[in-house]
Structures are given as structure tokens and as C-alpha cells.
């Protein structure tokens, strides 16, 4: 079995979720690496969109910013934020990848503040950026994050970005477009989805070297477990080669 690190397996697993011909709104870092890897493996027609306006570039290297010039290098269009987000709002964008400082059992994300006093927060994080917009509009939200009890919390301090909100039908009742919502959570230990009725987070696949219990031990709330929990296929030699040599040769994302 190939050697790989935490970030490498997350990127490889995420890339597999992106089928050929899909559209994906991505940020920089791991999401962008996953999309690039998918393009170079099974999804040559994957369409990458950046919220600042870049559409389907031929990425010469990992962008540093969602709006840097790499994001529209030999793109089919250099557009605008309104154009990209309108396109998401119209229902043309299939996937988005997000992260966050905290996530709860319904996939709600916090990237705004830690602390109880909103006016004087203990920690101020960047805020939504385009995350709330992407998660509201794109059909399927995939979250990539490290499995950690301080990230997977019972209740996020602030819902920056909507998951399934309070579960059940609460998301669609809030007015968010029907058919959207968190789809998969990809961590270093496994893959979670959401139980269709309650919308509670559920482990569906366990990464090599981990068990369901490992995941539960690093999760601040009770996880559901799918009936037939799978073993995640480890990254293949080919995936790792492309990731290391073509996608991220300077190891900006996968680390040194």
C-alpha cells in the first residue's frame, strides 16, 4: 500500500466524488487540488468555477487566492462574482467544497466567531466569504476538514453557512432552494453523509487505519453509523503520482 499523508487521502477521496461533466465552485487549497486531480484522472470535462469570476481555467499551478490571475489563466471566460454566483443561484453548479472552524451534526458551518458575545468575540474568523452563497445555491456541498472533537461540535457558536440547519425539513422550510444541502463530509478518518430523514451526520466509510470508534472519539456529538459502513479505498499510486507531480508539485497544499 502506498504511503500518503492526511491531506493526500482527503484530496484523493474528494476528487472521486466529482463526476465528469459536473460543475464545481471551489476555493483555493485542498478543494482546488481535489478538482484538479479529478480533471487529471476520471473527469477531464469537470468545469471549475471560482467565485471571483474565473471560469474553467487551465490551471498552470495551484492558485494562492480565489481571485488571483491563475484562476482565469487560459479560462473560457473572465467574469465577475455576480455572474458566477448568479450561475449557482440559477442551479447550474453541481458541487461546492467548503471548510470551517466548526461543524455540527447537521453540517452547519461556523467560520465567523468563537465566543458568546458577538460584539466582542473571543476569536474572530474571516466570516462567510462566498461559503454561505455556495452552500445555499450549489446542489451538493462537500466539506473537507480534519476529524477533531473541537471542530465537530454539538452546537456551533455561529451558523455562518447553512447545512441542514435543525435537521428534518428545516432547511427547505427556511426558504433555501429545495434539493440543495450538505452531501458528504470528508475527513482524514472517514466519510460521512446525512441520514435522509433526520439529516443527522452518519459515517458511511472508514479510512484505512481507522475504525468507526476512532471517528466517534474525535467527534463532539453522537454520529450515526450506516448499516454497511465501507472501507475507504486508499489513494492509488496513480492518484498520488498525479497529485504530487502535476497538481501540487510545490506541495503548497499536501505539505512537505
Amino acid at each position: 500500500m502506498a504511503n500518503y499523508n492526511t491531506m493526500e487521502i482527503m484530496i484523493c477521496v474528494a476528487a472521486r466524488e466529482l463526476e465528469d461533466g459536473a460543475t464545481v465552485g471551489v476555493g483555493t487549497g485542498a478543494p482546488c487540488a481535489a478538482a484538479m486531480l479529478a480533471q487529471k484522472t476520471h473527469s477531464p470535462n469537470l468545469v471549475i468555477m471560482f467565485e471571483a469570476g474565473g471560469v474553467s481555467p487551465i490551471l498552470p499551478e495551484m492558485p494562492i487566492s480565489v481571485g488571483d490571475s491563475r484562476t482565469f489563466y487560459r479560462a473560457v471566460m473572465a467574469s465577475s462574482m455576480c455572474d458566477i454566483m448568479d450561475t449557482c443561484s440559477r442551479g447550474l453548479v453541481d458541487y461546492t467544497f467548503l471548510g470551517g472552524a466548526q461543524i455540527d451534526m447537521y453540517g452547519n458551518l461556523n467560520s465567523t466567531i468563537i465566543g458568546e458575545d458577538y460584539r466582542k468575540p473571543k476569536v474572530r474568523f474571516p466570516g462567510s466569504g462566498g461559503a454561505n452563497d455556495f452552500a445555499s445555491f450549489c446542489w451538493r456541498t462537500i466539506v473537507m476538514t480534519l476529524q477533531d472533537g473541537r471542530r465537530f461540535v454539538e452546537k456551533v457558536d455561529f451558523i455562518t453557512t447553512p447545512g441542514w440547519l435543525a435537521g428534518g425539513d428545516s432547511r427547505v422550510n427556511s426558504g433555501l432552494p429545495p434539493g440543495t444541502g450538505p452531501y458528504k463530509i470528508i475527513t482524514n478518518m472517514g466519510i460521512m453523509d446525512f441520514e435522509p430523514r433526520s439529516k443527522r451526520m452518519r459515517a458511511v466509510s472508514v479510512n484505512p487505519g481507522y475504525s468507526f470508534q476512532h471517528i466517534q472519539d474525535n467527534c463532539g456529538f453522537e454520529l450515526l453509523q450506516a448499516k454497511d459502513t465501507l472501507q475507504t479505498e486508499p489513494p492509488t499510486e496513480e492518484e498520488l503520482r498525479i497529485l504530487r507531480e502535476e497538481v501540487d508539485p510545490y506541495r503548497y497544499v499536501i505539505g512537505r
Binding site: S69, M85, T112, F125, P126, I159
Partner: protein, 332 residues
């Protein structure tokens, strides 16, 4: 069409389109030279207490020279549009220029990390915040650009982002669906960095527009910094390429490398080392003060700032990097 939910955030500007119309009615439409130096433009159009927005995204095509000048001139008590504000945000935070912020994205520099000084300022309780998203702020500029008090959208529903925003939720009278209403945001002044402009302010942006089309129309006053002045004849040769028409513009300042140390597409790539220096030096208060003196307060203008960071030679290297020539050179 009832208002179903009310947010708790405060609007820092008035969304009334008729007040904006009264302002725009009196704004000059004459096609006359607006060329001035940047420090005069900032002195004339950026005032204590004003609502400020800047163009670009992250550290890309962001008017850094103008941010330095605003800090250098000691503006205070401003409101700021934190629309994926990164290096611009930490500069303005270092100068404690603003005390009200509409937030989409602040305190971070994307993949580069978080700014200690910006975080500290935001955690001090001295800054009033209203929460939005990137599309939310773009929508607010768009409403203003259309001369209407709001536009509807379908984001921020169901979240604390809504609760801490200044939006409203209503039922759509056509479909019964719940909609977010994003109120118009007319900044008092905006600064946008462009590739080319004529002396009147007809300007071209190459590559992504981000939300600068909407912002240029929403702003009451608009300062352009431009990599280079071009002739009006060249503008008229190709009107399809004009991104911003002159009648929106109050000042045109030719400032080469005005987005440095950020990226200007097709011109120069970001200076990642200097941006890391910015982040690292903030860990030590005394060093940071000295750093700010060296780079902003004691630095007369952007030309000197560029000179202190490698001048033309460095700019050439960043140009090579932007155009990916460094790869050809290293392979050649």
C-alpha cells in the same frame, strides 16, 4: 408580501434611492481631465466617517497604494466594506481607520493565514460589525447600481449570518417562496485599481471584474488608480473594452504597481515574501510599529514603497512570474 424575519444588524448607509438620486443629480457629467496625484485625491474624496469600499478581490487588483495613503493621512471613524478584504483589510486595520465593517470576509489572507493585527482589532469590541457574504455585498452594490432600495436573493436564509445582517426575509408575492432582501449600499467613496484609464476616467479592467462593475456604479465618489494612462482616442477605438465610463469617476491617479504587493493580472504577480513579512512582523508590537513607519508613515508615496522593496528589478521578476516566464526561464 409580509416581512417574516428581521435581522439585528445595523445598516451603516441609507438604502434610499431618492437620496442617492439627489446626490447623483448634482454630480458633474462633464468630460474633463480628472488627473491628480493620489494624495490629493484621497485628501479630497476620502473623509473621516465616510463609508469606504475598495475594488479587487483578496490581494488581487486591490488598490494598496490608496490604502497606504488613507492610513498615512490618518483617516478615522470610517465604515468599510469587508468584501473578501485581505491585505487591504489588515492595512486599514493597522491604521485603525474604520470602526464599522460590513463583513463578507475579513482578517484572513486566504491561504496565507490570518492577520494578528486585524484579528486583535476586530476582537477589541471597538468595531461595530454587520454580517453579510460575498454575494450579499455584491448584491447590495448591485441594488444601488440599479437605483432600487434592495434586490431579492436566496442566500443567508436560516443562518446566524442573516440574524447579524441588515437584511429582511419576505414572502415572494409571485411564488410564495421566502426571499432575502439585500438593501442597497451606496458607499461614500470607492477606490478601484484598473489597468488603463484615460484622463477623464474611462477605464479598462482586464480579466475578472469581481464586483467592481457594480461597485463603480454604487459609489457616490470614485477614485481610480491606474497602471497607466492611455489616450481618449485609444478608448474610443474600442468602446467594447471599456469597463468603467468616465461619468462615474471623480479622480484618475496614475500609480504604477498600485496593487503591489498583491497581484495585478497580466502585469505582476504578488510578492509572497513581503506578504509573509507583513504577517510575521505583527507578532511583535514594536517591530510592527517600526515596519508600519518604514512602509507607510515615513514613506512619502508608493514609488518610494516600491523602491524600498526592490524597485524595477523586483517588479520585473514579479512580471516574469505573472506571465509564467520564470518557468520557461528555469527550463530554458
Amino acid at each position: 408580501m409580509r416581512v417574516l424575519d428581521q435581522s439585528k444588524g445595523r445598516l451603516f448607509t441609507d438604502p434610499d434611492p431618492d437620496k442617492a438620486r439627489d446626490f447623483f443629480r448634482s454630480k458633474s457629467r462633464k468630460m474633463e481631465s480628472k488627473v491628480m496625484n493620489l494624495s490629493d485625491a484621497i485628501a479630497k474624496y476620502v473623509h473621516d466617517g465616510d463609508y469606504l469600499a475598495v475594488g479587487g478581490f483578496g490581494a488581487n487588483r486591490t488598490p494598496i497604494a490608496a490604502c497606504h495613503e488613507i492610513v498615512r493621512q490618518g483617516r478615522k471613524g470610517m465604515a468599510f466594506a469587508g468584501k473578501t478584504a485581505t491585505h487591504d483589510f489588515q492595512i486599514l486595520a493597522a491604521g485603525e481607520v474604520f470602526d464599522r465593517v460590513d463583513v463578507a470576509y475579513i482578517v484572513g489572507l486566504e491561504a496565507r493565514g490570518l492577520s494578528p493585527c486585524a484579528r486583535k482589532y476586530m476582537e477589541s469590541g471597538r468595531v461595530e460589525v454587520c454580517e453579510w457574504t460575498n454575494y450579499g455585498l455584491a448584491g447590495r452594490f448591485r441594488a444601488a447600481s440599479m437605483g432600487v432600495p434592495y434586490i431579492p436573493a436566496r442566500n443567508i436564509l436560516g443562518t446566524d449570518t442573516f440574524i447579524r445582517s441588515g437584511a429582511k426575509i419576505v414572502e415572494c408575492p409571485f411564488t410564495g417562496k421566502l426571499l432575502t432582501l439585500l438593501p442597497a449600499l451606496y458607499p461614500d467613496v470607492a477606490v478601484i485599481h484598473v489597468h488603463e484609464a484615460d484622463v477623464y476616467g474611462n477605464a479598462r479592467i482586464k480579466g475578472i471584474m469581481v464586483m467592481d462593475g457594480e461597485l463603480s456604479k454604487a459609489a457616490k465618489h470614485l477614485i481610480l488608480t491606474t497602471e497607466r494612462l492611455i489616450s481618449n482616442d485609444e478608448i474610443r477605438r474600442d468602446p467594447t473594452s471599456t469597463s468603467i465610463p468616465y461619468y462615474l469617476v471623480d479622480a484618475v491617479c496614475e500609480v504604477r504597481y498600485a496593487a503591489y504587493p498583491g497581484t495585478m493580472a497580466y502585469e505582476y504577480f504578488s510578492d509572497e515574501e513581503h506578504l509573509q513579512e507583513w504577517l510575521n512582523v505583527q507578532k511583535n508590537q514594536g517591530e510592527f510599529r517600526e515596519f508600519l513607519n518604514h512602509n507607510i508613515y515615513d514613506c512619502p508615496d508608493h514609488y518610494e514603497y516600491i523602491r524600498r522593496h526592490g524597485g524595477t528589478e523586483k517588479m520585473n521578476q514579479l512580471r516574469q512570474k505573472e506571465l509564467l516566464l520564470h518557468k520557461e526561464i528555469s527550463h530554458g
